[in-house]
């Protein structure tokens, strides 16, 4: 088995995993074959995953094989042929059925959704509704750079301003797939980027409008060195919170803007291997599921970007229908450039 530990998932690992679950297309299969042919590490990693896949499949069928030895051997003693194989498979699965029923019943009883996961489902359902919500972003901890310095004092680093410039940024959401982020930049300009769910766009100061047919294209460029921006992918964050975090209830302090007392859910990440913020805190209205405040602590930084941020609800006033299209944010004569690669 591979000796490496605590390594982040690699593209190869993703390819292997997808292949074993029958999710790769022809080009990906060819790419995997090329890596397997050229690298012993790739073969070892592939074998590790395939063995685990096999162990899990066997574990799922545990006990079935020896359930009816007479029938099994009666089938085996005929020359192997397709009909026999099918008959054995049928027998195998039939004999496993009783164990499955018991296992699944136990599992169902064990896994009945608790209040916390049901509440998160409600919050996700609220997020999926096409209701407009506006939030202000607060940087609670800008983090320190690799040398231990405070990035607040650093000058603008190209397309990625210091994390402190995220403080005060405005995030507008419509449902879970449309957003507009307005952020002040160190040079005095504003960067506005957004997505209408089908495509994404970015406008920096008086520069051209850059657009992409990938709805996540510009969202991936908000934080230096990151493939995604957690606060632009709230749906994914909530799904991760539901699936991968240890949840606990807490009571948030009273919020004057909210007519009903808010409920609080705090999730702690089970393991660093899972990725994502170490802790997610959610303040929401139990009647509507609307998020009033969301804190992301211990964001993955890789030496840059904020360590901790909060989103605070500022308005639920409906925005103009075209607000999430770039045309609503610039004049008609602005130059438009179509991007085909991720911004660096």
């Amino acid at each position: 088995m591979n000796d490496s530990t605590h390594e982040p998932p690699t593209e190869l690992e993703d390819l292997i995993f997808r292949s074993l679950h029958g999710l790769t297309d022809e080009a990906e299969s060819t790419a995997l074959a090329t890596q397997l042919a050229s690298s012993s590490e790739a073969r070892e990693l592939f074998a590790d995953h395939a063995m685990l896949h096999g162990l899990l499949a066997t574990e799922a069928q545990a006990g079935a094989f020896a359930a009816d030895r007479e029938a099994f051997f009666a089938a085996l003693e005929n020359p192997p042929s397709s009909p026999n194989i099918i008959r054995i498979r049928r027998w195998w699965w039939l004999s496993a059925a009783a164990a499955m029923v018991i296992g699944l019943l136990s599992l169902t009883l064990l896994l009945l959704p608790n209040n916390a996961t049901a509440a998160l489902d409600q919050v996700m359902a609220a997020l999926d509704r096409s209701v407009d919500c506006s939030y202000v972003i607060r940087v609670l901890d800008p983090g320190t750079d690799r040398q231990g310095g405070n990035p607040v004092e650093k000058p603008d680093r190209g397309r990625f301003p210091p994390s402190s410039f995220l403080d005060g940024a405005r995030l507008h959401l419509r449902g879970s797939s449309q957003y507009v982020l307005e952020q002040a930049l160190p040079d005095g300009n504003t960067r506005t980027l957004g997505s209408d769910g089908q495509s994404s766009w970015c406008i920096r100061g008086e520069g051209p409008v850059r657009t992409s047919t990938d709805p996540h294209h510009f969202g991936a460029g908000v934080l230096a060195g990151k493939q995604s921006t957690p606060f632009l992918e709230l749906r994914t964050q909530l799904e991760d919170l539901r699936n991968f975090y240890q949840l606990e209830w807490f009571t948030p302090p009273a919020v004057p803007a909210s007519s009903t007392p808010l409920k609080g859910l705090r999730g702690s990440r089970h393991s660093a291997a899972q990725g994502g913020p170490k802790e997610i805190e959610l303040w929401f209205d139990p009647a509507t599921g609307q998020i009033h405040r969301m804190v992301l602590n211990g964001l993955p930084r890789g030496g840059s970007g904020p360590a901790s941020i909060a989103l605070e609800l500022t308005s639920t006033t409906p925005l103009p229908p075209d607000f999430f299209h770039h045309e609503a944010h610039h004049g008609p004569s602005r130059r438009i450039e179509v991007e085909t690669t991720r911004p660096r």
Binding site: M1, T5, P9, E13, D14, S19, L20, H21, G22, L23, T24, S29, T30, A33, L36, A37, S40, R43, E44, F46, A47, D48, H49, A50, M51, L52, H53, G54, L55, L56, A57, T58, E59, A60, F65, A66, R69, E70, L76, E77, P80, N84, I85, I88, R89, M100, G103, L104, L107, L110, L111, T236, E239, D240, R242, N243, F244, H270, A273, G275
Partner: protein, 185 residues
Amino acid sequence: MTAIESNTRPQGENPAQLEFTRLFVASQAAFQGFLLTLVHDRHAADDLVQELAGRLWVKFGDYERSRPFVAWGLGFARLLAFEWRRHQTRLPVPMDEQTLQALADVAAERSMASDDRHEALGHCLQHLTDHQRQVLQARYYKDQSVADIARQAQRTEMAVYKVLKRAHQQLLECMRINLASPTPP
């Protein structure tokens, strides 16, 4: 044969059948993983495990008890997998003979330590979240596709895929730690 085996053996079964069953069941995970590494298709691997059982039973009279059963069976499994690949018009992951042999060598090495892995897996499964176990059950126990699980759980396919992938990564990491330490933590 021990007294317990003698007393608990159902009437009409012969000792060879019992021995074969015991050996094959103990090695099944190793064969499954080995075949999956070479054919890259779970259902094909399931079928081949069945076919392998048939071939090994026919040849069981030749089996030398001094040799590990897994090692003996893997030789047949390798031939079976190569045979299966030759008969396919389209392979999930196409590769040349040399790569396939190299992959088979790695897989055989892993399979020989299958008992330890199986034990480590049992321990590591306990460290998954309920939701991860639920998705693994649906995928492996109920044999549901990622798309089916997503539809039933009213989640996106990507979300289900991520749950599965992270569960695998956690299990592999946990198993590495377990296999590297002299006693399970």
